[in-house]
Symmetry: C2
Subunit: 403 residues, 2 copies
């Protein structure tokens, strides 16, 4: 197997070799480390907002090896504040890959068998073009001049990346939360390119309550004078307080009341009594403040605005005259839809709506509701029932594809 | 019936007459309109924080007439951002009383039969002493120098007010949310003074998730530079943005996903398509922004910090060695505990914990779970099942008391 067909684990060391691969105009990004596909003025991204974005770039990581007939590619779609570092040490936080629970050698998404790609979504801030990128028209960061991004735009950019990598179709497209929205959009936009799809902890459209929570987060950011109307990079300020508040609020929605009760309850920090002050008396307060502080170290405030907006705008049925089943009409993709009992951000009813639409479209679909008290974030955590179901679905799909 | 026994509807017009009532050192507050009981240096409020607060004042409103044997008094306890204007036009907002659905002539809490009192809690900002009041020691607003307030402190102050009004015991103590916490605390602190108690949409302690939501709100306020470390009154600034964000986030928790879906869904403002901007595209966004803006017109940011903290600290069992039933040991009070099916801030499980404790204490208790999609705020809204249950309980209690 030659280099141009055998794409290997995408560590920075591989980049020089990868850059020689035919049709793969990839190079190493300065920050973050990893692989970057650049698209020039002649290859714009056609965005739903009516803008042709060019130039732009997509940062990505890979694991495993593409087989000779290029039939074993898996696309992992990351969530709102996730990134491409699904199975590698994160260059900013130093933490392990965010989906090493599910993806790796011998794991349900087995990197010994599949070639796994994960790209930072367009509009984000981990190497792909977004509001913190330099606008070539002005020489300064886009800020709010960056066009609004949709889930469909993210998927279009991913499709361009796969074209660049010479991957015609995906064996599996998998992701949770906003990643699950991308999986659904993939199945709707490019049904012939997706053999199996696994949308997890997601929904066919963002609910009013979820839009409401996102709007609070955006208002928290925009209320911060350091946000400077989105021009904080030039102003030399950082809307850390606003972004931290936004993250704290959002983080609550990723967990569950039972999990918070189990992990923190009403336990006090370093004592058994209140201090009668506004200090972080309770462990849950200290935990939340830490979540806010650590998040602002790794995430761009404008990117947070853009990606929350992309989720809010997501409504797969709206593109189909309000009939969700039409989004999947004639599909041959096989689906496994998964939800978690304690997820109140994307409750099981949302997954059921997807399943009903797939049933109406006569698509092959399995539905798994995992019993868990961990809330929405369960898809990122150690959930043996999720792993078992994913393994069963993916192994069966691999057999059907002759892998 | 002479003036000193027949306290009448507490409109400002009554104040001059009321001020003459023996033992009733009441006068008209400049703002808001209504009745005010002042407590001098010799009548301090003994607070849980270890402080003797003096002087202090309690603003209140009344409706109905106290009967000759003073056996028909009802205390209404208001919620976090509520106030004493339960049945009168609000002096700031111009809106009708917040509990006119439940309280008034011919209503379940019948002002033709009962003498109803509602006082602004200590620590709030509608005429009772709180962080926006002038600290006599410094001549400037207390700000964060105000001692932390607890639910028990609020109840102690209410007991002092009732003493002042010559009301030994209550026929009924009723309230929702933080008001329900006060009802429970009344039953625990002064069981011999409460004939019937109706805690609604509340719990015996604030949950980790609820503390978390409150902490986000507090951080939003404190992140606002206009908050000025709590000294915004002297600084001439207003932390309106931070307080607005806090209110927006909290408001979501007062509603429910089904109610938000029914009222707003994914409907756009004035059109059927997104504007691809950060404008309030969705009706739910516009609604939330309005909630934030209108709230900051009527509420003090520091008071919001103090009252959320009071709720967080509430844990009735903690005062009883962790055994909630001990809080009600030997009580003769009759209870009606009420919850709403879609209330996820104080879910029915919280009410059940109260009921179980009352059962264990052999207290007479009725439990009503009202089917409603309106969420936590259902107790403030038009809920016929709530009115019917309240009327049944209160009428039966009145018969038992010979009213």
């Amino acid at each position: 197997m030659s280099l141009d067909t055998a794409l290997k684990v995408g560590t920075p060391e591989d980049v020089s070799a990868r850059a020689d691969a035919p049709g793969a105009e990839v190079s190493q990004a300065h920050e973050p480390k990893g692989l970057v596909a650049r698209f020039g003025p002649d290859e714009p991204l056609a965005m739903d907002a009516g803008v042709q974005l060019a130039p732009f770039q997509i940062a990505y990581q890979t694991a495993g090896t593409l087989n000779a007939d290029r039939s074993n590619a898996v696309l992992i779609c990351h969530a709102l504040t996730g990134d491409q570092h699904f199975a590698h040490t994160h260059p900013v936080t130093g933490k392990r890959g965010w989906w090493e629970t599910l993806v790796g050698p011998g794991k349900p998404v087995d990197t010994d068998r599949y070639f796994v790609v994960c790209s930072n979504v367009v509009g984000s801030c981990m190497g792909s073009t977004g509001p913190a990128s330099i606008d070539p028209a002005t020489g300064r960061a886009y800020g709010l001049d960056f066009p609004l991004v949709t889930i469909r735009d993210m998927v279009r950019a991913q499709a361009m990346l796969l074209d660049r990598l010479g991957i015609r179709d995906l064996f599996l497209c998998i992701g949770g939360s906003m990643g699950g929205m991308q999986v659904l959009q993939w199945a709707a936009s490019y049904p012939e390119r997706v053999f199996a799809a696994m949308p997890i902890a997601t929904g066919p459209r963002h609910s009013a309550q979820n839009i409401a929570f996102h709007e609070v987060g955006r208002q928290a950011i925009m209320a911060d004078p350091a946000w400077a109307e989105g021009r904080y990079l030039e102003a030399g300020t950082r809307p850390a307080k606003g972004l931290g508040v936004a993250r704290m609020g959002a983080h609550i929605t990723y967990l569950s009341e039972p999990a918070l009760h189990r992990k923190f309850g009403r336990r006090f920090q370093g004592g058994s009594a209140p201090t009668f002050s506004f200090n972080a008396d309770f462990q849950i307060e200290s935990y939340l403040r830490h979540q806010g502080l650590s998040f602002v170290e790794r995430f761009d405030a404008n990117a947070y605005l853009y990606l929350t907006r992309a989720m809010d705008y997501f409504d797969l049925a709206a593109d189909q005259g309000g009939v969700l089943a039409n989004a999947f009409k004639g599909t041959k993709t096989r689906f496994c839809v998964m939800s978690f009992t304690s997820d109140w951000l994307f409750p099981t009813s949302e997954s059921r709506a997807i399943v009903h639409a797939l049933n109406a479209a006569s698509a092959p679909v399995a539905f798994v509701e995992v019993e868990s008290d961990k809330g929405h974030d369960a898809f990122l955590l150690d959930e043996p029932a999720m792993f078992a179901a994913a393994r069963g679905f993916i192994d069966a799909a691999a057999r059907a594809r002759g892998l």
